[in-house]
Symmetry: D4
Subunit: 219 residues, 8 copies
Amino acid sequence: MSDIIIDFNRRQRCGVEEAIFCESKSIEQIEQIIHIGLSQEVRFLFTRLSPQQFSDLKPELSAQLDYCSLSNTAALGQIDDLNEQDTKVAIVSGGSSDARVCREILRTLNYHGFNASLHEDVGVSALWRLTDALDEINKANVVIAVAGMEAALPTVLCGMTDRPVIAVPTSVGYGVSKGGQLALNACLGSCAAGLMTVNIDNGFGAACAAIKLLNSFTH
Amino acid sequence: MSDIIIDFNRRQRCGVEEAIFCESKSIEQIEQIIHIGLSQEVRFLFTRLSPQQFSDLKPELSAQLDYCSLSNTAALGQIDDLNEQDTKVAIVSGGSSDARVCREILRTLNYHGFNASLHEDVGVSALWRLTDALDEINKANVVIAVAGMEAALPTVLCGMTDRPVIAVPTSVGYGVSKGGQLALNACLGSCAAGLMTVNIDNGFGAACAAIKLLNSFTH
Amino acid sequence: MSDIIIDFNRRQRCGVEEAIFCESKSIEQIEQIIHIGLSQEVRFLFTRLSPQQFSDLKPELSAQLDYCSLSNTAALGQIDDLNEQDTKVAIVSGGSSDARVCREILRTLNYHGFNASLHEDVGVSALWRLTDALDEINKANVVIAVAGMEAALPTVLCGMTDRPVIAVPTSVGYGVSKGGQLALNACLGSCAAGLMTVNIDNGFGAACAAIKLLNSFTH
Amino acid sequence: MSDIIIDFNRRQRCGVEEAIFCESKSIEQIEQIIHIGLSQEVRFLFTRLSPQQFSDLKPELSAQLDYCSLSNTAALGQIDDLNEQDTKVAIVSGGSSDARVCREILRTLNYHGFNASLHEDVGVSALWRLTDALDEINKANVVIAVAGMEAALPTVLCGMTDRPVIAVPTSVGYGVSKGGQLALNACLGSCAAGLMTVNIDNGFGAACAAIKLLNSFTH
Amino acid sequence: MSDIIIDFNRRQRCGVEEAIFCESKSIEQIEQIIHIGLSQEVRFLFTRLSPQQFSDLKPELSAQLDYCSLSNTAALGQIDDLNEQDTKVAIVSGGSSDARVCREILRTLNYHGFNASLHEDVGVSALWRLTDALDEINKANVVIAVAGMEAALPTVLCGMTDRPVIAVPTSVGYGVSKGGQLALNACLGSCAAGLMTVNIDNGFGAACAAIKLLNSFTH
Amino acid sequence: MSDIIIDFNRRQRCGVEEAIFCESKSIEQIEQIIHIGLSQEVRFLFTRLSPQQFSDLKPELSAQLDYCSLSNTAALGQIDDLNEQDTKVAIVSGGSSDARVCREILRTLNYHGFNASLHEDVGVSALWRLTDALDEINKANVVIAVAGMEAALPTVLCGMTDRPVIAVPTSVGYGVSKGGQLALNACLGSCAAGLMTVNIDNGFGAACAAIKLLNSFTH
Amino acid sequence: MSDIIIDFNRRQRCGVEEAIFCESKSIEQIEQIIHIGLSQEVRFLFTRLSPQQFSDLKPELSAQLDYCSLSNTAALGQIDDLNEQDTKVAIVSGGSSDARVCREILRTLNYHGFNASLHEDVGVSALWRLTDALDEINKANVVIAVAGMEAALPTVLCGMTDRPVIAVPTSVGYGVSKGGQLALNACLGSCAAGLMTVNIDNGFGAACAAIKLLNSFTH
Amino acid sequence: MSDIIIDFNRRQRCGVEEAIFCESKSIEQIEQIIHIGLSQEVRFLFTRLSPQQFSDLKPELSAQLDYCSLSNTAALGQIDDLNEQDTKVAIVSGGSSDARVCREILRTLNYHGFNASLHEDVGVSALWRLTDALDEINKANVVIAVAGMEAALPTVLCGMTDRPVIAVPTSVGYGVSKGGQLALNACLGSCAAGLMTVNIDNGFGAACAAIKLLNSFTH
């Protein structure tokens, strides 16, 4: 059994809580962490917990988790109160294949007590979908733009709005998309000034960035 | 002195003439080819002939060339008659830094007797510039879209028009642009169906493709 | 359930219809789209719908699809009338391993009402196969050349014909082929002037390009 | 002479003004833009204007520019009033080799009327330098962390502060640094949640992001 | 059956024994090697022996192995005597996902008669965990630092200690992590002078390096 | 069913016969080719025919094949007579993990009537194994050196012998080995003059090269 | 002054002599080697000796060299007797830009006493040039095919001849050519069985390979 | 003028002193650091100080430096006393082109008071040179192996000696060498157990590693 050291005061120090990244963890390690959460009465957010991993957990432990198979996230313990009217964050995506990442963003925000408006499937190959949604998007303080393939959406959107835009490139695509590397580079190399970017498919990171931004101007 | 074999009947066979790619050629080789052109009364289009190379040629030879330092092209001999009213091709570019490539396209078209309308600096970070130009662009049979950086322009344009679009990614950009590789991949991995792509900065190739298309439907 | 916004007037605007790219979609999303098609009486072309995905669909929904397991495409609803004598497009491939992509091209053309002649397994390692087929190929207005490995076929063919050539590199090969990246680069970096290229294995895109070309000169 | 279309209302629409990216522009194009600025009484910020380019400009035009050879930026026209006491942005760098980028950030902020505190040469190979500066850094609303080589600084800093952190990877380094690609990936792949990243050496972009953030919460 | 030539005197010549790298070996080859070990009474360390391979071995052969499914290592035959008090090596890791590699290091050291202290899950996103462990780490002669993602840990640790540090980058991460390539480059391109690095996930190699170091100063 | 065109006179034209590369072929295609072979009484060599593919073939067809699961090759029809004393080719490999490729070389040679001496597991980490085999290796006219990982073997061997050496890099290794790319580059970038290289794991190609060499000097 | 150890008996051991690779050497080192040659009366072949390096040598030393600025090679001392009628090697190139490499091959062969026939500028974009030359090419025992860009020539040629073919990819091209990497991969990933490849622009290596082949069958 | 913070107690904390990496520094920054050294009477080691940079320094400052143009290093102030008989480190290189890096290692060691034996130009294409030197090399406690191109030397040497080996890959080579990336990967992916590696051309880092090793066992 390997040692695990929980960073309990991370939210106080950094504004967001430590999440448990499950992709490289064994079932034994994940179960050990659930035990720590239950015994010490702390809550955890699990990310990249695959359906296979979830179903391999002991039933009495998996039953404690609020699991979402679209986003591969799970919450253990109490989530923050949520103001349904809160629209400080807008999540915008290029296509329905990006739904996985949109949901990870939303679940991470919700876990920390923030809500968001959701504008999916408004990619640039049919620009009218994006311009139709623009007024609603502009009501937010922070915009998170999610897109795969050539990821033109964050660039086009960033050129249309004065809201800060965080881009989340996704691994949707094939061939030259190279698992999202094209989308990532398209966001970083954008001609639209001020676009900020996180790792491929990193919905959790984008949500944390938005939370730190919102905290910074209200704390 | 190395051997050079001219493919004199290429236009008859392929619809476009052989061009002399100068980037890797020595001054001696370029001079030898000019001699062939002059002595055999055949014409040539030289591409990627740098200002340095041009000025290193013997004056009596360089004087025979119609040289353009923006596009690094030169024509030796008679160019085809040009119908100024001809608008079968539209050249559209994202920024003024792409002017080099736009000019190579235009010069190659002109050399073969085709004209084109030019719509420069209409990149997607200010979409109104592109929508303003759209009606004029749609008058052409073939559209050539030139863009560097994240190259969102060809994708956005391809989603707006029913004209066939040939994308020319350019090496404008830095960091993740990697000499135009990002722009190239963005064109190839585009979510807009039917976009066709040529090599980075390959204005000559895009022009030849347009010529073969126009020939195919008029011959 | 994520939001899906159908771009119903894409054919009118762009000349080709929106296709449903299934590779990154969940079974629930694909079923939702079939429901939209059935309830709103619109037709759809599904691409990259794997045999596994197809068999995971509810039987009453999969029964509505015209599925082809070689090309992983499916059509929902009426396909356009087809003129069997139509030979405006020629599809040429290097080897029998490229059959998957050839079939995707043909199915996409057929769905939009275009036919094509098919010339498979005529790769350059035995040039007589290609020269034997050349006269038939030259009868088309547009040629689509499909090849994997070192993809010399599109280059050689482009040097033999005055027809415009669209290259589709395929992922056939191993080692340095890197999932088709070699074939892609060989098409883009070709010494044959005017070759146009689409993404690796992107038969759908090549077909859409051909359709836009044919439309541009007949509309 | 190529066409140039100025996007005059970009600040109103996006919150930041259009900058003139000079790296791929000819001297003639830069001079043309200065003429537009002078004749139409609009101001411009020039980025990546090399000392060589600056000295190649006609003297009567270069004299109109406020040029900085460390950051390769130049301002034409009036810059915004600056509140010297303003500390809403903190700029933190790993080493003195990153000074170029730090200066580009500061100049872009200043041009738009924002000031910043500067904390240079506090890289992680001597952590005491960073911890000494932490209290001052935490007074800002937004932190911009600039680092080359393995770029551990943004990760370590992001784990120490609840302020939002924008990372600017720099091209400082050699071998595996690959022109800043390592630093870029280190920021994107960071274990510190919420780090946001811009292109390599893109100080201008980071400053614009910070400006959009500050605007979003004060407008 | 292919030929296998055992390098029996490798420990005498090189200080460490030949290990059997199982990843690319067939079951028949692994069984053949176990037979050699049993019949010639020599011992072997097997690395990268997957649980699937282990369970495919004939039971009478697998029963001879001391197998560890966390590290995918197996020992055949007598392991060296171990001094439990020995702390000449310290193993330090960034996160619990790195446990696989830590265990491979420990098992390799143990097999050759060396012990090590273990300091897991002390990554830089919560620096207090590392500083808490520093005094214990400094008691060793050689430190092995194991980290994935952006791998800032080896750099930070190397800047804190005068002990020699061997970095083992791990494949933990996604997107830009590219199977550990980011972590590897971060160790190689580190600003901390004197960091030494081995291949991704190569715990065996790091242990052998430590053993050669310890031997060199005691023999 | 896709078209298949057999190049029956390849051996006469090129000296080696066409092989059937099975990796990207469907079961239907492979069965179709076996039918052609049986009905037209021509023989075929199948490469990269996986055990899964082999077992998916109809039993009456697979029964016609001489299949080898180590090398994934199969022969249909009569193989050439073999002179067991023939030692014009020497196959040398670095480790027992390279056995797959060695066997593909041997099977391809045998199919064309050539034999070879086999020297496996003589990698450079224990040089005595290679020097022990050198005299036998030098008896051949052509040496094929097979190695994975850092592939130092072909370089060292090429510096020891005056026989021509064809290197076959293999995909054995992990991390920086990148599926054999490291081994490939090590052979191509070797300091040993005159080393010739084929694609990763391309035992078939190396054998064909050797056959063409032997034919060239005996025909 | 660094130490230099000459491998005087390399020709006896390997069949080819040690060449002096000058690209990374200082003027002092090159001069030191010329001194060794002169004082010990041994001959040397210098490769990649740039015109700049050559002109920086002391005149009394450079005067001793037989220098060729097209191939950047120089010979010091007696070259082998040459049989002008010797046509055991054929050098075939795609374009006149490859002349540099062709000349390096020829000079290396000549230095060792071998001659070759030269067939330049016969690339596949005009196949008649290659078929015209085929009969002459087939008279050789070994063919060296030199090509840049997409490098289809070696593949096409290998499919036409039963002579062994060594491919030399060149760095001619731009964009996706990536300094010859495309040409290199096209040779390695060729569908033509038996093609052998050397490093980019490595004319010296191809010549050495040919020499070892010729020696192997005549010694 | 940018801020510079000197880490004066680095040697006490880490065992090696801070070096001034000059590649990305301006002349003004380097001069500022020399001033700090002179005024505060501390010494510095400058690395990657190019001859151009050195000659651009003010003469009264450059005169204070002990500069070496082969290794591009300079020392300011007193260097440690050197025991000429000290042979705890052996530096071994593949070719005379690696002399630059060997000298950087030696100068860094000397600066810290350590000497080394030097064994240059003993690459594996002529193995007798390495075996001749082996006994001398084995007298050291730590071996630093320097090699470019395919970098087989560190692997072969590591398989011959029980001394710990630190590999320094160099950028010597072309084509697939890719600026030393091949040599780097060859060291990391070596089949020889226990090889440790530093960044390309990082002689300074290898020397620091050796110093930390020597300190660890003598302090």
